[in-house]
Assembly symmetry: C2
Homo-oligomer: 201 residues x 2
């Protein structure tokens, strides 16, 4: 679709959009999801609340787009997991980084809010999975496919299931707050998933 708005308006709305994302993430972090309102986000972003209502149907939708925007910026030019040829080392690096992100106070409140809403709202969950979660899981699929081609993953392993043995345990600890998320834990999850619990003989 051709961009028909003049460049100035486009730049202006891009600035507003970013300001809205920053405001939403910050407010949820400071005040909690329940106490965050569209009005509050608008005031902090310096835009009219009609601007937000025009672009998004709910505060959960704003939050989802804020995360998508962050994920796109973080992946800038590098939309894949590292591949040094050492699957174990690469996965440990990625899962340790995931632990750091999940433990970061800036990330925790808005990410939990989005996850909690998705747990109880199927429509939001569909958006969350399709636009944010599944694309990030597909990075694991590609890395595991490459490992299989290199002989580092058993033939017959379905990478879309295999990746859940890596991300599932971390998500379980984080979402349900069972035990602390540490680098040591991330390492063990990678080791157990790669080599299994049963003896090798």
């Amino acid at each position: 679709m051709a961009e028909t708005r003049p460049p100035d308006a486009s730049r202006r709305s891009e600035r507003s959009r970013r300001a809205i994302y920053d405001a939403a993430l910050a407010l949820v972090g400071e005040a909690g999801y329940t106490r965050t309102t569209i009005e509050g986000i608008a005031a902090r972003a310096g835009v009219g609340k009609q601007t937000i209502y025009r672009w998004w149907p709910s505060k959960a939708a704003v939050l989802l787009d804020a995360f998508l925007d962050r994920a796109e910026q973080a992946a800038q030019g590098e939309p894949d997991l590292p591949d040094t040829g050492d699957l174990e080392a690469d996965l440990k690096l990625v899962l340790r980084a995931t632990v750091d992100e999940l433990n970061s106070p800036v990330y925790d409140a808005p990410a939990r809010a989005l996850a909690a809403e998705s747990v109880s709202d199927p429509a939001l969950a569909a958006q969350f999975v399709e636009r944010l979660l599944e694309p990030s899981l597909q990075m694991y699929v590609r890395r595991l496919d490459a490992a299989r081609a290199a002989g580092h993953v058993r033939a017959g392993i379905d990478p879309r299931i295999a990746l859940e043995l890596l991300v599932g345990p971390l998500a379980h600890r984080w979402l349900l707050r069972t035990l602390p998320l540490t680098h040591e834990y991330a390492d063990k999850v990678v080791e157990y998933a790669l080599y299994g619990l049963a003896p090798r003989d």
Copy 2:
């Protein structure tokens, strides 16, 4: 502590307690968690709302106790995972039953409500983990310990971490609604967790 209430009063309050649990689970299933109120639970259970307020601080607390009560009834006399000596078969049985429970409409709405509240409320999460989740995870610890003693689990494996490779993937699919939960999926998770993703040679 000695039971000082006369037997009749005790039986009556036991009946009320059960009626409140049934009402809470049914209402959340029918109307959703947000639209379920203490008043609604009281009306359906045929008790005064003060009875509920006297015993529980919130509707989430009622729901948690309702789940605990159900879990205690389900475990009646059998508070452990099956142990036929075949770890793979036993775990497949347990994970398939978990899939069935997570897919059951009666269970889904109240369990999701409790999980979603726990994701965003650390105080409720602490109760949820301590009283409901961790005791059920300890059943896996005991089964994996027995398997280790029998030589079916590698020496050096920490069973409290190992179990998360089994329950984490299922929880991830269920909570975040990524893909369907099926028996075939449960079987693969058990196989991958036991034998690992890396080739055995």
